[in-house]
């Protein structure tokens, strides 16, 4: 069961970070960043297979690829932005964290603009 492994990594890293933090705050932060990466990489392989299967399914039932890829891209952006912002927040840099979140929001909005444009196009064409 992978969940044991993830929890184990997390708990060990937490104990380490708490112990180290009293002596040296920076190293505690490094420990938490590295743990974040390790868990992320651990889980990414699983996620990849799920996404692969979803793509196959979409191909089979012949729906437009654009829906799936747009939604997945948006979710990906949200996740990565969240990941970075959390690390910054942990290190006490709330300002940088909010900038990362801002960047994520803008990029999500950029993804939305083509959809918005075609919707507007459609509606304008529809009205005689």
């Amino acid at each position: 069961m992978e969940i044991y492994q993830i929890v184990a990594v997390g708990v060990v890293a937490t104990v380490l970070a708490v112990t180290v933090k009293n002596q040296n705050q920076e190293i505690g932060m490094f420990v938490s960043i590295v743990t974040g990466f390790v868990i992320f990489i651990f889980i990414v392989a699983k996620l990849q297979s799920v996404i692969e299967i979803l793509h196959q399914m979409a191909n089979k039932i012949n729906i437009d690829d654009i829906y799936l890829s747009t939604i997945l891209k948006i979710v990906g952006i949200a996740y990565i932005a969240e990941f970075g912002a959390q690390i910054c927040k942990d290190a006490g840099e709330g300002v940088i964290a909010s900038k990362i979140e801002f960047g994520g929001k803008v990029l999500i909005m950029v993804m939305a603009v083509p959809i918005l444009v075609s919707l507007m196009d459609l509606i304008i064409n529809m009205v005689p």
Partner: protein, 216 residues
């Protein structure tokens, strides 16, 4: 008519199922609101799609979205060029070219059903006003179309890999053969691609070179 209706219903249902699935993957912060807005727009588009087919006569949704994002890509690059100094120009153009190539390849493979072996783009880099406009496209396709039944397709794919390895070795030779190769394909297929690309990316038809790798 029946077929279209069936496809429409299947698309709506599968998109909604897919979205409910994705919803619990979402991180629970304030990105969620933005994502919900986009998902709402998308569902609206999916529902209105049959109307679009009637109104605009054939252009699909993917085309519209791709065209808009393409336009945005060009504008982003122009803006970056204005703000970043000349030393970084090359990086920005390369990024843009890669994006464009990826998009074209996707278009050829998914929508028109060809197998792409290689794709080169030339873009305007000197003239500041028309910066980023496409000057020429060279496409190298693999021979057969991608419409066989799955087991056959797999068998063919293995053959194709062998072919492309051969070609990698003689890449310069291939360039010399370009003229000859494009004359192999005089039938309608080349014209379909040229028509499609010239209307979609606003490129002159004469500037699109298409050649086919013979599968032997």
């Amino acid at each position: 008519m029946m077929e279209g209706l069936r496809e429409w219903i299947v698309t709506i249902l599968s998109i909604i199922i897919f979205i409910t699935f994705v919803e619990f993957l979402l991180p629970n912060n304030n990105h969620k609101r933005y994502i919900n807005v986009i998902i709402g727009l998308m569902i609206m588009l999916v529902i209105l799609r049959p109307l679009m087919g009637l109104l605009s006569g054939g252009t699909t949704l993917g085309d519209n979205i791709l065209q808009a994002s393409n336009q945005m890509e060009v504008m982003t690059m122009q803006n970056r060029m204005d703000t970043i100094d000349l030393a970084n120009n090359e990086t920005v153009t390369r990024l843009y070219k890669d994006n464009l190539k990826e998009q074209m390849k996707h278009r050829l493979e998914k929508q028109l059903g060809y197998r792409v072996h290689d794709l080169e783009i030339e873009i305007e880099e000197v003239d500041k006003k028309n910066f980023g406009m496409i000057k020429g496209i060279t496409i190298v396709l693999l021979e057969e179309k991608q419409q066989e039944s799955p087991p056959e397709k797999n068998a063919k794919r293995i053959k194709d890999v062998e072919v492309s390895v051969n070609v990698h070795v003689s890449l310069s030779e291939k360039n010399n053969n370009n003229v000859q190769a494009s004359s192999i394909m005089i039938d309608s297929e080349g014209k379909v691609i040229k028509d499609d690309f010239s209307s979609f990316y606003q490129v002159d038809k004469d500037k699109i070179n298409i050649s086919v790798l013979k599968n032997k």
